[in-house]
Symmetry: C2
Subunit: 184 residues, 2 copies
């Protein structure tokens, strides 16, 4: 059954890694060109040993100024952020930064396809939440009041992402339905 | 005169930094959303001191699997690689990797806008070279024979990028002309 496969498929793999693997499948099968951006690092000190590769000796993680993933599907610009939570009832806002939301707002305003992929790990459910309902919630209902996005909100405004063995987070299926064939 | 400004503007700044600054201008003035991707780093060892930020103690530069820059302009996906050379007569192929060309080919096939930005530093000239003439050269005339792309080829198939004080590499002007209003 789907559930058995799903449990098997997810075992030990982060959402991010499953998306990376899914993107590889999309690329190999000529469906879409979507990549994870490297984690930004501030390099402070580098050694250049003779006859071998440069070694970074001191560096610090920097805050990403954009999102985790972007790319191209059927000529459209795709941009999204992946979040997973151990919570069953809400996604904490604590892991979502202002500048990421600003970036996603910009992408939407310039005609890109922009969304979150949100996984509730204890429920084994993964949703695509378009940026617009998220922004409305962020700007009005929740800003300064709530500290999280309720599961019920995500379930109502989002779209559950189907699982396939070769595309564990098969979000292109949802993009096709929601953005390409109209809707949202 | 343009030349004086140009010389002044370029002083000590790499092409890549000028593009980053231009992108900031595009973002601030709501023209386009284009970012440089972080340099990919393979982290081997990290220290987690108490009460301060994680320190990366050993890491190595990895080869980028895609290009330097991507983003969004008027709903279109934009993807490009920046190269500068001290040569006056050609751009050496040595700095262009197979996997980058593969990526750019994929972007073109999926309907993205894809190109090189090439600067001949001694000439103080910067060109946008669309991916298609580049690919034709890469696949046929030069592959295995030539080791560089001639200046004359780039000047003929490419488009000189104008300089503005606020947008030192004003490539959106060229995109507008070549891709949005037709041409290429
Ligand atoms: Mg994330
Ligand atoms: Mg480059």
């Amino acid at each position: 059954s789907k559930n058995i496969l799903n449990t098997y498929g997810n075992r030990g793999m982060t959402l991010e890694n499953e998306i990376v693997e899914t993107n590889k499948f999309y690329l190999d099968t000529n469906i879409a060109v979507i990549h994870k951006k490297p984690t930004p690092v501030q390099v402070v000190q580098v050694d250049y040993p003779k006859r071998s590769a440069a070694v970074i000796k001191e560096a610090y993680y920097r805050r990403p100024s954009t999102t985790d993933f972007n790319g191209l599907y059927k000529g459209r610009y795709i941009d999204f952020e992946a979040k997973e939570t151990n919570n069953k009832t809400s996604l904490p806002f604590s892991n979502i930064h202002d500048h990421q939301v600003e970036h996603m707002r910009n992408v939407d305003q310039h005609g890109g396809i922009c969304f979150f992929i949100i996984r509730f790990k204890p429920l084994n459910e993964t949703y695509l939440l378009p940026i617009r309902p998220f922004i409305r919630a962020w700007d009005t209902e929740f800003d300064g009041k709530r500290k999280s996005l309720p599961y019920t909100f995500i379930k109502e405004k989002g779209f559950e992402i189907p699982f396939r063995l070769q595309a564990k987070v098969d979000y292109i299926k949802v993009i096709e339905k929601v953005y390409i064939n109209g809707g949202d």
